[in-house]
């Protein structure tokens, strides 16, 4: 079973040379720490920066330089700042190659819900609706089940949607899955996790085809 860093580490392997990548708040933010350093990647944050670097050294924080999670950040050589309209031009115009974001629920046809629990909690969609409606490649980082042990990989989302039929891949604490026309296709098991455990934790249609390898991270 993976912890948050494990999920981020596995997702980092999906990041390819030459990719511009948008990382959502939470686990996705951690992905930057695990990307191979022999490939060239630039991180975009929708509040208006391309070429994000690591957190600043203590005392170097600049209130005018933050990421979409409102965290103080630094920039790398080749970075640029821009306004919100330009930022979403990058996203909507498919110039950002990969979006990695969290989810409360994902359905077997690739719908995603991650911004609202009616009557209980409303964070807002932020840039997520624009990202999922536009990106060619969307990977979701999430826990396979909620605190009550109920599956978050469903036949149909029960919460208000963020986007329809858009999720391509899901990396959870238990597995790596691809969203196909037939449902969730199991690609890899987390270390020490059995196929049965994944089947049990998945409410939506799960395709298990042959031997499922344990993921290497």
């Amino acid at each position: 079973m993976l912890d948050k860093n494990g999920i981020a580490k596995r997702i980092a392997k999906e990041v390819k040379d030459g990719y511009y990548v948008n990382l959502g708040i939470g686990i996705p933010t951690l992905v930057a720490n695990f990307v191979r350093d022999d490939i060239s990647v630039e991180f975009q944050s929708e509040n208006g920066v391309l070429g994000m670097g690591p957190f600043p050294f203590e005392g170097d924080e600049d209130p005018d330089i933050i990421n979409a999670g409102k965290q103080t950040i630094t920039t790398l050589p080749g970075a640029s700042f821009f306004d919100s309209a330009t930022s979403f031009a990058m996203i909507r115009g498919k110039h950002v190659h990969l979006t990695i974001l969290g989810a409360m629920e994902v359905s077997e046809n690739g719908d995603i819900a991650n911004w609202k629990i009616p009557g209980k909690m409303v964070k807002g969609m932020g840039g997520a609706m624009d990202l999922v409606a536009s990106a060619e490649n969307i990977i979701v980082a999430m826990m396979h089940t909620n605190r009550e042990g109920e599956s978050k990989l469903l036949k149909r989302c029960t919460l208000p949607l963020t986007g329809v039929g858009c999720v391509k891949k899901i990396v959870t604490n238990l597995a790596v899955l691809e969203v196909t026309k037939e449902g969730f296709k199991l690609l890899e098991r987390a270390p020490g996790v059995t196929v049965e455990e994944i089947v049990k934790a998945t409410e939506g249609k799960l395709l298990v085809d042959g031997d499922i390898p344990e993921m290497k991270i």
Binding site: K70, F82, D83, F88, L161
Partner: protein
């Protein structure tokens, strides 16, 4: 050169009234018009509709206006860091229109640039698209979103000149440029107000034509919401 300089925040807010719609720049607490917000609190303007990506935090930014119940309606994309906001919204005290962030930015830009509406894929198939016109282009579905209409835009820049030209710093730029010229009156506050000719015409982010009033803010707290650092080795 058409001079846009205004002596202070009081004069800059001349004409604001109860029930008006305001655009306010900033992302979280980054690049918010601190002085204009403070003055709106002081003036006690009520029943405001605010178009702003976030609503500040409980005790800073737009949170100050929320605390005093001066806001009737918020149009935002994200409200995750403000308990009072969430409480007022869930209790129904506050009307909230949640809008995808890119749509929010473009609704400002459309108002600035004279576009009545635009088609965006964001929100298609979600409750955001409910009651809105949808349409297919090249096999993909889009939602028609109208331009915003607002009375005042309050934006914050780093440097500005007498002609109203603005330069922003870092990610404090965010929604500020799109909101310039997107309301009847755009009020820009800057950290440093310079004589015309001080800024290289090539470096200007927002030409003064989009700004009606400009003033130098008395002071900026620039509060950091999430101070994240790494240790020096």
């Amino acid at each position: 050169m058409i001079k846009k300089t205004i002596a202070n925040v009081k004069q800059a807010l001349h004409g604001v009234q109860d029930g008006m719609t305001f655009m306010l720049g900033g992302f979280g607490l980054c690049g918010i018009p601190e002085n204009a917000i403070a003055e709106l609190v002081r003036l006690g303007i009520k029943d405001i509709t605010c178009i702003s990506n976030n609503a500040g935090v409980d005790d800073f930014g737009l949170g100050l206006l929320l605390q005093k119940h001066q806001i009737k309606k918020m149009i935002s994309s994200y409200v995750g860091e403000n308990d009072e906001f969430e409480r007022q919204m869930l209790s129904g005290e506050l009307e909230v229109e949640l809008t995808p962030q890119g749509t929010l930015a473009e609704k400002c830009r459309a108002a600035q640039a004279g576009f009545p509406a635009f088609y965006t894929p964001a929100g298609y198939g979600t409750e955001v698209a409910e009651g809105k016109e949808t349409r297919e282009f090249d096999g993909k579905m889009y939602v028609l979103e109208p331009a915003f209409k607002a009375d005042f835009s309050f934006v914050k820049a780093w440097k500005g000149d007498e002609a109203g030209n603005l330069i922003f710093k870092g990610t404090a730029r965010n929604f500020n440029p799109c909101m310039c010229g997107a309301a009847t009156i755009t009020v820009a506050e800057v950290e440093e107000l310079l004589p015309a000719g001080s800024l290289d015409p090539n470096d200007i982010h927002i030409p003064g034509i989009f700004v009606q009033r400009i003033f130098q803010g008395e002071q900026y707290e620039k509060r950091i919401e999430q101070r994240t650092v790494r240790q020096r080795v």
